[in-house]
Amino acid sequence: MARPLIGFAGMTHLGLVSAACGAEKGFGVVGFDPDASRIASLKRHELAVSEPELDHLVAKNAERLQFTASDGDLRGCDVIYIAPDVATDDAGRSDLGQIDALLERVFAAARPDAVLVVLSQVPPGYSRSKQRGGRNLYYQVETLIFGRAVERALRPERYIVGCADPAQPLPAAYRAFLDAHGCPVLLMRYESAELAKISINMFLVASVSTANTLAELCEAIGADWSEIVPALRLDKRIGQHAYLAPGLGIAGGNLERDLATVIRFADEHGTDAGVVRAWLANSRHRRDWALRILHEHILSKVHDPVLAVLGLAYKQDTHSTKNSPSLALLTHLHRFRVRLYDPVVAASAAGHPRAHSAKSELEACDGADALVVMTPWPQFAKIEAQDAARRLRGKVVLDPYAVLDGRAWRSVGLDYHRIGA
């Protein structure tokens, strides 16, 4: 058969990355979004999303990648993904209003024989509730990782596809698109696929929460978590790729959404979610790691201190600040002068009343009593300890993610702190 034409509805992070990667795989792609201004920006190759390689892929595949604000352009598509980013509130609850509306619009615009695939993250039960007679509706698990979205979309580990009846073969066009990625395709009922997505995230949270718990204990008893990790990775039951890096709590929004969903469903059905609540409590606790250390070493000791904060994004290689530990920290530092620098996020995102927007890492250090590295951007690792020490007024350095070379920073007389030691 001829290569199917693939549509993606919703040109925010997930949809845009998926569309660009579909084109990179050689498929004709229609990227639809009802927001005409967003489409206009995309046509000018102005992307509101920051992901490694994304700009390059959009430019490189311009001929195969059509952006449109007209849903009529979806009529030619054989497979249409519904892929808007689903917003969450502070409690991690999804706002499904936008995807509901978009799905209805795609149902109306698509050919009756087109395959519709919900790619956005939705709660268990969503897909079956949207199924309608005579139409092909599937749910496909997305495993987007902020900062690694392109890599994950081009080389997925597997596809998990939720179906009304997993015993039935996939339509040829959909199968052809999935097969082009050369990975296993797992078919299961809708509810299993929806819960599979959540299950993956739950295991990641479990690993990180365990790492956080033990890293904190390391700090208290003189152990070093970084020495323990290699031993864990050599245990086959834990594995080389396990999430063992401690951090400043769960951020980004997606994991929090899944935790909230599991608690909600468990409460509704009377199953036990105590451990999930404990993960959330641990996440809240670890988020304040930097504040505790700053209070102990600077805020309770130095009059009107100046703090240099590097990194505002919730993690490296992304513009997203959703539940960013850095912004959370800055919320509690409004009384103090801060000097902010992030390679992508503007200092104004912090909404801090006494903030100076620095143009570089070293400029942020000028005259500061403490340096805090709140996002593990790789470029921060290149800061020379000696240069920073010369420009800092104080000696305290907080590097929760161990981006800096602790030994080098200590060797120039700085009081270096990281998580887990």
């Binding site: 504040l291 509690h332 530092l333 009384r335």
Partner: protein, 294 residues
Amino acid sequence: MISHVSTQPRNPARVVVLGARGFIGKALLARLLAQDVPALGLSSSDIDLAAPLAAEKLAASLKSTDAVVMLSALTPDRGRDIATLMKNLAMMQSLCAALAKTGCAHLVYFSSDAVYSFAAGRVTEEAPAAPPDLYGAMHYTRELMANTLGSVPVLILRPTLVYGPGDTHNAYGPNRFRRAAHKDVKIQLFGGGEETRDHIHVDDVTELTVRCLRHGSTGTLNLATGRSVSFREVAQLVARQFAKRVEIVSAPRANPVTHRHYDVVNLIKAFPGYRFISLEEGVVRCHTETAGAA
């Protein structure tokens, strides 16, 4: 976690301290007056809150614009039985009845860390209240009673072990150790004194209370320093204040070893940059002031 109704601190119209002759009450009243905050101290000799008609009598002393600090309570050294519990609840009942009549601008209820169980070593304000005895149950019930006053902004303060000059109690800790060292040149620990606890100086308790009053803070806040030490360390610290060698001896332990550490991050957020009196500094200060007063 607490929230400040007033982001900028401002003095309340008047603070009424109930239990003004007690250890904390006396120190709080003194601090308020020293900081030019209009204040009225009432004690059981003025109004016996457990007595009939106490509510009417108290209401006559209150104004709707007052901030009220409730410190009146029969502490465990006055009894741990059901009768003491009921008297304490009657006192709170009188206060609530009075406030229902007069209203007030702000109610600060001094609870206790006795509302927490010893099942977990780390305590935050989010830890569920699970009082292990009637004293803890009394405080938790009084917290709930305070929160029935729908229109009154309520702050619950849960102090850990408070020490300092003027302590009228003789609880196991710095004050008792100092008295024992002074009188007997000997401090007695239970077992090896391994239990860790957080000790807060009364000046920190009163300073934080005044700040809460000035901000009209509401919610629940633990008053603790975030640093726990063993009773043996406290005993050694106290012993070092004396010229004579103070002996530290061990008595059979009546209860299993428990630990309690406070995560004070909510306090740090509420009062950024707050500097606690360290235990070392506090014990020295206590010793010097007590010696000076003697």
